[in-house]
Amino acid sequence: MPTDSRRLPVPEVSHSPELFCSSDPTSLINDDSLRKDGRNPEEIAGIFMQCGTVSQAKGSSFCELHKTKVICSVYGPKDVEQKEDFQMIGKLKCDFKFAPFSCHKRRGHIADLEESELCEVLTQALSSSVCLHRYPKSQIEVYVIVLENNGSALAAAITAASLALADACIEQYDIVAAASVRVFGKENFLRDPTFHEEYFPHQLSKKNDFNNGVVTVALMPTLNQVCGVLSEGCMESSVLQEAIQTCTEEAQNLYAPLRKCLTSNLGDINV
């Protein structure tokens, strides 16, 4: 394509203007011990869940955790794509993607390394709950798209995916609930961190970086089994263990709303 010589070309590298603002070193908790969005440190975010959002999919769900919005569709069980060797255990294929407009910085269309890592964690969390031995020679496809990322995207995604699998009538040992916690300092945990409360190493100086991080845990509440753990940031092991404990408690508390969402959906069908 011949270049247009009358127009100035777009620069190859562009940055968001937010990067050039002075970084706000205000602490995460203000004097009234409230967070930026007015919550207490232990207060969890408001959650909204709905099943059957996507009519073409076998099962689907929409989950909103404060402002983070995640939509998930499940297709299957269907024939395995490639003519691979005969497998008695079904295959779970997950796809996790941030929509290009979902984060503060625009994401590309092709999944980058971070997205494939989160996809792997999602797959492994769901594999422990789905009864794959009941679907030989088949595959189940789970597609998760994050429409708006305001923190705790992975936790919302795992919960939404498990809900969608239940909506698709895929057999599971238990539903998977996930929660995340931001750690700053030895005793301070913020449940369900928003995007600004998440851990970004470049916002902290070297001295302040110790015992700072974010921990996400996926749990099967009734069976009390941990299906996924992901943490980042340098912490003492006791702090990490406590953070995992906090996440586990919070995931347990999610069980009641999840159950309510599924049963209310059933009630509609009966009519």
Partner: protein, 290 residues
Amino acid sequence: MAKAILGDSEKWFIVHGVQDDFRTDGRSCENYRHIELETGILSNTHGSARIRLGSSELLVGVKVELGTPKPQRINEGWLEFHVDCSPNAHPVFQGRGGKELSDNICSMLTRVYRNNTVMDLEALGVIPQKHCWVVHVDVLILECGGNLIDAASIAVKAALYNTGIPNISLTDGDEGEVEINLPDDPEDVKHLKTINCPVLVTLSKIGNRHIVDATDEEECCCSASLVMGVTRRGHTVGVRKMGGGSLDPESVTEMIDSGKKIGRQLHISLDKLLKIEAGMSEDIKQTGYL
């Protein structure tokens, strides 16, 4: 991942052995296999290391290049990891077959090196906002014998320890621009401070107990494993659960404690070994693969 194919009775044998704290090669649950480590074997790189952990073999090469600093950190350089699975290790890695494994290892390494405490990135800055050192760490997997993640992290630490960044001097050039001059002497280098670099410890759950440094066969029997990055002082820098099984919350706590203890021991032996090797005279020939 290139998995060994085991029959059911073989799996039961391994599981029962682990219950009694006695693995197939005679180790206890918390012992590593024999580790061979050699640094500085590739002359084209600024730092390199070769590790042989049991029958797993990896090669790490570190090259530093001048690049532009990231907009959020104008005074600092950065590290970039890249993992490649050579088809030498297993025919399944031909073409793009090894992408999943290499992505896993790469993302785990990036995760544990992503905070401010492990490396002094300001030492990699040259001219704020214009130039900085970018450290490219390339891991090449040559043989798969289980526990590649741990081996990769040990080799990366050794290679970074061995890395020498040229001591550049800045002079004022024309038009007010600062010129960067490389030294003529290839030995005129400054070393990176790797004292806080973490090591990844993989704890695999088999039956009711967890083991460290699983071989290929043991990896087939394990349902879930926890990979954690541990620094010299026993702090955790990143945790990720791998595998399709589930873990008890108490197991997770136990595994973190074990991992911390084992990680610290690993650091002590590794630091000692690196110091000894650095102090060795240059008359001793580097053997590499010979």
